[in-house]
Assembly symmetry: C2
Amino acid sequence: MTAPASTAVVALQQIAPWVGRNDENRRRVARAIADAAAAGANVIVLPELATSGYMFESVDEVRAAALPADSPLLAEWAELLAGTTAVAVVGFAELAEDGRLFNSAAVLDASGVRAVYRKTHLWNREKLFFTPGDELPPVVDTEAGRVGVLVCYDLEFPEMVRHLAVEGADLVAVPTNWPRVPKVTGDLFPEVMIGMANARVNKVAIAVCDRAGRERGQEWNQGSAVIDQYGNVVAQRTDAGLLTVPVDLTVSRDKTLTEHADALGDRRLDLYGGDAAKEGDR
Amino acid sequence: MTAPASTAVVALQQIAPWVGRNDENRRRVARAIADAAAAGANVIVLPELATSGYMFESVDEVRAAALPADSPLLAEWAELLAGTTAVAVVGFAELAEDGRLFNSAAVLDASGVRAVYRKTHLWNREKLFFTPGDELPPVVDTEAGRVGVLVCYDLEFPEMVRHLAVEGADLVAVPTNWPRVPKVTGDLFPEVMIGMANARVNKVAIAVCDRAGRERGQEWNQGSAVIDQYGNVVAQRTDAGLLTVPVDLTVSRDKTLTEHADALGDRRLDLYGGDAAKEGDR
């Protein structure tokens, strides 16, 4: 197990994919990964469904954009990380061997495709196009640290970040597409506010990469944000492009809050269940 | 079961209790309940440990302030609600029959003491003075609506509001004592931000009553806040005194977010456990 860096550079690529422009989307994903790696990023996060766009009108549109997890394209994107210790998390429409379609995220590093997570909480009309995943998300032990993965609406279920924190995540990467909604108190996008709370109560860093562009009339929050383990937004970008910020990922490994308080240790597993944190890993 | 009001008046009494001044604390609690009821409140929340103060130096100090749940005092405070449909939630140091001490909250209405909840997540040095409760908090069906109860640090465990929402709470009342801490992004007290997230992801109203006063050198956030089901702070008071605000508690009974999305129905109980929401009650 590699210790995380006290100055890990987290990079978000708030790009704009478009339904129907699959070649262009794929080229943009490759460029986004390469540019972030060249900028010295340790953790790179791209949006949900970065290869396909979001505003589908039919299952056929999804199918035309979907890639299998063993697509040479994913392997090529991993190769862009050769010579670095970086990890990249990229949302894509996944075509399973049995023909089902998933809203997935791939975890890539120089060694290849490390994991593929299939979104378990589908938002609204996604239910018309995708099958929900049936496994909890992974925590992938990389040279950049232990990276947990969620996709968009997953973040609004506190059970999910809790699970990843208990599994030892240093950072939770969240590819997302946030349709524009009103802000809440504090001039915050509601999903960012929810991310802040999850980060603080689990003492884990969260990096959410939203998308840009107006697609089939839909606008987006463009609310990409990096949130530290105390619940503060340490960087945010509300237009298209690359955002980088250093984060001390070692903080995530110490869940103590005070002499007599511990964010995970104080849970009452006897009352509401849940798994014990892996003390040996911390 | 009584339907909640679309214009329930929620009242927070941000008072200042003091260790050692037990008679004065008790008189202040009675006055706070009576004043809020006279102001037309439907739901009244007082701070954690309102009868005793917080900054204990010994167990003897707690014991000198503690009241049994069947104390005539609690019954007297319930009588202050005679002729109203109001419910009051009051934090107090509880002396159990077996001599143990709990950091508890009583739920009172005109019919008497409806429930006593013993805080299950003790914060920091509270562990030196109190025994943690061993039961999940109740949802009390009152004429003002279904009121769930937490105490302070409980709110930082998302399992708790989730439990109360699943049990059908219209509003979660949270007596609290928040030692002063730095604000987070959005100029928010971190605990208020955490309340906002819990309110939004569960589509339930939350009313947190903090305390005022400087006690044995300790300052407090004085961050009492009423949060609506969308995660917005609809009222906040940062000095001592009474805060009232109308809240539509009927919103809590409809967990749908969009045509195809539901805050509780979209949970993946197959993946992380939890109880199904009581559809029959909604």
